[in-house]
Subunit: 334 residues, 2 copies
Amino acid sequence: MSSVRDGSPPPTVPLGAGVEFDTIRRFLAHGRAPHPSVAVGPGDDAAVFEGGWVLSTDLTVEDVHFRRGWASPEEIGGRAVLAALSDLAGMAARPVGVLASVAFPQEPDDAYAEAVMAGVCGAADAWDAPLIGGDLSRSPGPLVLDIVVVGQAESPCLRAGSVAGDRIWVTGALGSSAAAVRTWEAGREPSPELREAFLRPTPRISVALALAAGGRIHAMLDLSDGLAGDAGHLAAAGDLRAVIEIERIPVSEAARVALGEEVALEMALHGGEDYELCFTTASELPAADLEAAGVRLTCVGRMEQGKGVWVQSPGGELRQVTRGGFDHFAGQGG
Amino acid sequence: MSSVRDGSPPPTVPLGAGVEFDTIRRFLAHGRAPHPSVAVGPGDDAAVFEGGWVLSTDLTVEDVHFRRGWASPEEIGGRAVLAALSDLAGMAARPVGVLASVAFPQEPDDAYAEAVMAGVCGAADAWDAPLIGGDLSRSPGPLVLDIVVVGQAESPCLRAGSVAGDRIWVTGALGSSAAAVRTWEAGREPSPELREAFLRPTPRISVALALAAGGRIHAMLDLSDGLAGDAGHLAAAGDLRAVIEIERIPVSEAARVALGEEVALEMALHGGEDYELCFTTASELPAADLEAAGVRLTCVGRMEQGKGVWVQSPGGELRQVTRGGFDHFAGQGG
């Protein structure tokens, strides 16, 4: 979940909502003990109920998560659904349905609102998760979408479960989405590839289901806060430290072209909203798994005894990550 | 779901969101066929999944559903949860958990945001539905809360199921909540009783469970659009007409005192957000049921062959309802 600022100069990187919400987030992370039929409660990508039902909700706010000028209303509605479905991928859950709560500004007109809903329904149908409910309202301010996704998982993959010695993997390439935001905020139009990465991320459902069925995954989540932040979530949940080898990170080529090597790496580590998967396994994945995945799988590092997220330079030097997507769980893992 | 307008003169009655959202609502009502494990899809108070899981989502937007000056942040957070839990009552479902997506304005400060969340958690815990997830964001405009409620129902009560000859019942007294809004919008402070009705509605969970367990309910929903609108939903779902006997409506005494007989009746019929139950039964309820309910149960009318909602005067004259909470489903039942 990265943010953009309204009316202020372009930020160096999109700000994770984490830093400023530390105190408030505690309400989500440390509530009362859940009902016995709730198998997984607050703190993971989604809640899990008896019968393997998986439930998550994802909020998209105009001028925080997107600007209206960046995309068509269909794309804005669709993106909100794709981002929410990514939470199901992070749990290795199969999508079943979507509920959409949307607050529509009076402007520009109802045709715009209908187009947003068409985008919501289109993306939901495309991922076999038809709209099964929701709520609509006017908004006296921004367009706000809260997308609730419902899925089914035989054995949901959680954030906890890594052990020391595990390898850390990611799907796809990282940094494109944040690079698109950065480019827009600088007043330029991103390349079609960057734009696509931001507006039409692919929830990694099928590879998540395949890997989970193979029993290879120790822990998993979807990448929404940047690799550093999310590897940190896995590390904290396993009471371990994550070591990321800088030169192994599959930094988006399109981000490199647009922003240069250093900023593109920054986007991959701290940008957020890649909606790829990050997971841990006991060992290398067999070649057959890598070929069958349908998406590039890259081992980016390892879990070790310790705390926090560390990056390792090609020369072997270790440096703890203390900024960007990482700050907001400093209390847990850093 | 009633609305108030921002900056404009006080409306005669809070406007149901229905009228202006007709086209957009069709996306929620007529989506693609749901997944086979979805027992009840779009169009009811909540979706129902295999295993009796019931799921609903309820959106509360500042300056549409409330104004910040009307209540403390704890009360605003709590009310959003109570309103959402009422949808579970409408299905005769037992609450299990709550997910809260909240977009917080920068102003006044984070202590305000924390107090909103404390209100959310307090109400959720009080109804044995602890917070199990959610999402948080900044808002560049209004405070927005989307509350997802999860419940369990052995045999969920739906909107469809009434037959001609059925009696129509409501719990409690009607019109207080809308009368509070009307009073605030006129620049006055509502009486403590009206204020309480708006800010702390009681989700009618226990009476719903008791009546459903007794097998007496043909169809049910919770009253959010006003008696006329919601009786119309039941009528449309049963392909019947609802006849409401004016003098039987349990109009709130506090609303009568504040606004006079005629306006109080208007609030009960069209005001909305009472969060009482409206249900149909084949016959009168036995005295034992009425006593055990713990809340006043009033028979307000009957279902007949036909369409729409009709009000019957004490003299027996019938008049079709064509305004307020009723307009927005004219296409279905009127």
